[in-house]
């Protein structure tokens, strides 16, 4: 057993992190909030870098890597708060022309919602009659569909374990960013003549954020290795918890500033909320894990 990143996996993770730092830094994130819309050039850039074709066999023009590598890439996307229907497009690579290269933007009906419907070239699942709603997340436009069609192709059905796992990886990345953002603020913001991070009430919020993120990381990486349905369900529950509670605690550490539109904390929290609706509901994961206890 060697449950650690390999050299290649580290290199891949660092490569994606650098690419996103170049193409989608804090400034770009703010700019995207001011002018929402999918950045097609960035999407193609991701395609060129192999983000969507990561798991496609080399003979089909893909990168030929596996689930662990995809999880690392999606974790970085979650950490950068990269917007767009990333999971649906990744899953469509190899079946929808142009998805692998980032020429096409593919979205999917999932959890009664469709993300980025107006910007998508291809929609998987039945989105007929979908109505727009005023999305809570400024960077994820949403439509609601009347009912989820039972005839959806399996690859994009809400319970697709790969979609669930990649979403968990995004949550993990965002949880990590929330912890880093909170710690950064706690080190610099002063009250009562000292950094607020010296106060135990603040310190313990940060420690709990880290613990939740690290436990989620172990679960998400292990699920990527085993691809076991119960491991994936566990990864999903822990990553959701780490991300949503992490973003909330990050807001608390920021005080009044955390409650402003200007602060990036709102973006962290709102995106984690959107993701909890993907891939079936949380209760489905809990039921999967309960059933597994009796198997």
């Amino acid at each position: 057993m060697r449950f650690q990143l390999t050299e290649d996996q580290r290199a891949l993770r660092d490569g994606v992190r650098q690419l996103l730092a170049r193409r989608f830094d804090r400034e770009a994130l703010r700019a995207a909030v001011r002018a929402p819309g999918l950045d097609r050039a960035l999407w193609r850039g991701l395609g060129e870098a192999g983000f969507f074709a990561l798991r496609l066999p080399e003979k089909d023009g893909g990168v030929g890597l596996g689930l662990p590598e995809a999880v690392l890439a999606f974790e970085e996307a979650g950490r950068a708060l990269l917007p767009g229907p990333l999971v649906a497009t990744h899953l469509a690579a190899g079946t929808v022309p142009g998805a692998a290269t980032g020429e096409a933007v593919v979205t999917a009906v999932d959890g009664g919602l469709v993300e980025w419907l107006a910007e998508a070239d291809v929609v998987r699942g039945d989105a007929a009659g979908a109505v727009p709603l005023r999305s809570v997340d400024p960077l994820t436009p949403l439509h609601r569909v009347a009912s989820v069609s039972p005839t959806e192709p399996a690859a994009v059905s809400p319970a697709d374990p790969v979609a669930v796992l990649l979403t968990a990886a995004e949550q993990l990345g965002t949880a990590t960013r929330a912890c880093e953002t909170a710690v950064q603020h706690a080190r610099t913001r002063e009250q009562f003549g000292q950094p607020i991070g010296a106060f135990q009430a603040v310190k313990h919020l940060c420690a709990d954020m880290l613990v939740r993120a690290e436990v989620a990381r172990a679960a998400v990486y292990a699920a990527a290795v085993t691809a076991d349905p119960a491991d994936i369900a566990a990864a999903r529950l822990l990553a959701d918890e780490a991300a949503v509670r992490g973003a909330r605690d990050c807001l608390q550490v920021h005080g009044g500033m955390g409650f402003t539109w200007e602060s990036e904390v709102q973006l962290l929290l709102k995106r984690t909320w959107v993701r909890t609706h993907r891939g079936g509901r949380v209760t489905e994961s809990e039921e999967t894990l309960a059933a597994e206890l009796l198997s």
Partner: protein, 384 residues
Amino acid sequence: MDLADTPEEQEFRARLREWLAKALPTLPPKPSPEDWPGRRAYDLGWQRMLYDAGYAGLHWPVDAGGQGATPTQHLIFLEETEKAGAPYVGANFVGLLHAGPTIAAEGTAEQRARWLPPILRGAEVWCQGFSEPDAGSDLAALRTRARRDGDDYVVSGSKIWTSHAEVADWCELLVRTDPEAPKHRGITWLALPMDAPGVTVRPLKTLAGSAEFAEVFLDEVRVPVSGRVGEENDGWRVTMVTLSFERGTAFVGEVVACRRVLGELARTARENGRWDDPVLRRRLGRLNAEFRALWRLTQWNVSEAERTGGVPGVGGSVFKLRYSHARQELYDTAAEVLGPDALDLDRPWTLDRLSSLSYTIAAGTSQIQRNIVAERILGLPKGR
């Protein structure tokens, strides 16, 4: 990233399983929890069997009499022994998991020769005399005094919450040798013989009704200077070595046991009809997620220790924090499954529920662990 056994690990696991299948049926019946001499004999007997089979001190270095196994092999050992229902390390806990490794790392050749073989052979039991009535979380506030008199230290003071003190032969004892020095400087680490004149052990009853720990009173006890591990007044540094061992893999077997309990809970719930309650069912599902993740985190930490070749790091605090709460949640959920039976002390889960309450206190409280995570991993400033 990889979770499968290597060929060597596979072979190690297979050999161990085979040995366990033969060895366990030869064990004597388990003594009752109140029978302390019986428990000591049982635990030491198991250690002796491990010794004879070449499994004693698996994770200790070879030059300390151990087997020099990799951290992953040690993990496999803990996993397989728990799965097979082998005895827990019990009374040998302190000797095998912290006093022994500390002496191996910091002791002289004579000290290693004197103390390590009896620990491995299952001949001697150690306990840990760190905490005092006024020095628990603030361990360095300890006041037990030791003054030099010829070739001896003369020790007076008292220790508290000393687990297994009643049956121990030796105690890893922290004493203050320089009352004038700054708090963390004037401390010394001594090996105290528990049968020395002036040592009085008074058992303390836990809330679970048993006498797992004790108060230890020290009245002018003479401890030879040759029993000092590390330099005089350098005991705090030695203590940090000891504590880093304590949190390493100490809970691995327990995580395996908790996963088994969870499965038993689910089956019990199905039999008694509680399974039909979706809220309870999902709570069990969440606990499944929790213990799966804790097991993965263990595998991650062990692989990391193997990669860095070092002493377990602060990652142990991350694990301990989450695990201690998960274990309490597990037995609270057991109470929901059992209904009124949860109030019956003759049900093992009731005692487990009571004993799980100590997990957020013993070996450093959750609050202290959070301070460690925040200050040493996240780099937040120290509080005043």
